[in-house]
Assembly symmetry: C2
Homo-oligomer: 167 residues x 2
């Protein structure tokens, strides 16, 4: 298989949203972009939803994203946060349909198991491993970015089953 495929992984949130963008070519995975979209909590939620939409719309168009990777959400202590996570996921679902993107979802333990070998790994272990695999990554201020890179990598590996990492 030598077709190129660009995967966008997102760790959505209403204030911080991490993302990673990887290109899979044959057995090679290259990290093209990653970071955190941070939106001031002073903005009303309607505005942040729009910023989130516009940001990921641009990333999708710029990188010709074909696959989106997300973690399956789980209900935490605060149901209102769960609902707001839904707002952001709804935007991603919309963008997927508009741009003909394939959605792939993985449970948090699937992602951890795929990238660290252990489904119960904590965020710091995931972050450390991501920095080892992708030396261009700097120590993140927030785990949103390394979590997003991890779900992107999980989707990349699951698509090629041949874990060769470059850069």
């Amino acid at each position: 298989m030598s077709t190129k495929q660009v995967i966008l992984g997102v760790d959505p949130g209403t204030i911080h949203a991490g993302f990673g963008i990887m290109q899979v070519t044959g057995g090679q995975v290259v990290l093209h972009d990653c970071g955190v979209l941070s939106m001031s909590s002073k903005f009303p939620l309607t505005r942040r939803v729009r910023m989130f939409h516009d940001f990921f719309h641009e990333k999708i168009v710029q990188h010709h994203v074909a696959v989106m990777a997300l973690e399956t959400p789980f209900l935490g202590k605060n149901p209102q946060n769960f609902l707001k996570l839904g707002y952001m996921r709804g935007i991603l679902y919309l963008l997927n349909d508009i741009h003909g993107i394939v959605l792939r979802e993985f449970s948090p333990s699937e992602v951890k198991k795929s990238v660290t070998g252990y489904g119960g790994a904590d965020k710091e272990q995931v972050a450390r491993l991501m920095m080892r695999l992708f030396p261009a990554l700097r120590i993140p201020e927030r785990y949103d970015m390394t979590d997003a890179v991890a779900v992107t990598l999980c989707a990349a590996w699951s698509s090629i089953r041949s874990p060769i990492i470059m850069r």
Copy 2:
């Protein structure tokens, strides 16, 4: 006050979504449109999110909607349904920001109290009253429509404090 204002009330859902559109002019409230958007559950959720987006985008543009009325959501028995409700609300938030629409949210009991005088009214009572106030309404197959008309009317009344109903 004699300015015109169009209010869109939505009862969002991933399969059925009710809506009502009213124009408030001075002390008068006129029902312009109402109905239920029904989407087959056979469609993937990404597609239904897109259909929901496109449908309400068109209604907003067609009717020059200035205000959107929604009920505040509450966590029911199924957290996954709460999350999916978030998907649809996220789309409405996006449309609000894009079109400069003012968002007004009311608790379910505020809506019931506003339109029936009793915060504990059931859906059938609300439906019956909506049909009396708006004789053009036919008996709905689903309460999604009358619920949406009720939240629209609640916002209309709260904006004018002068409940004169026409048509």
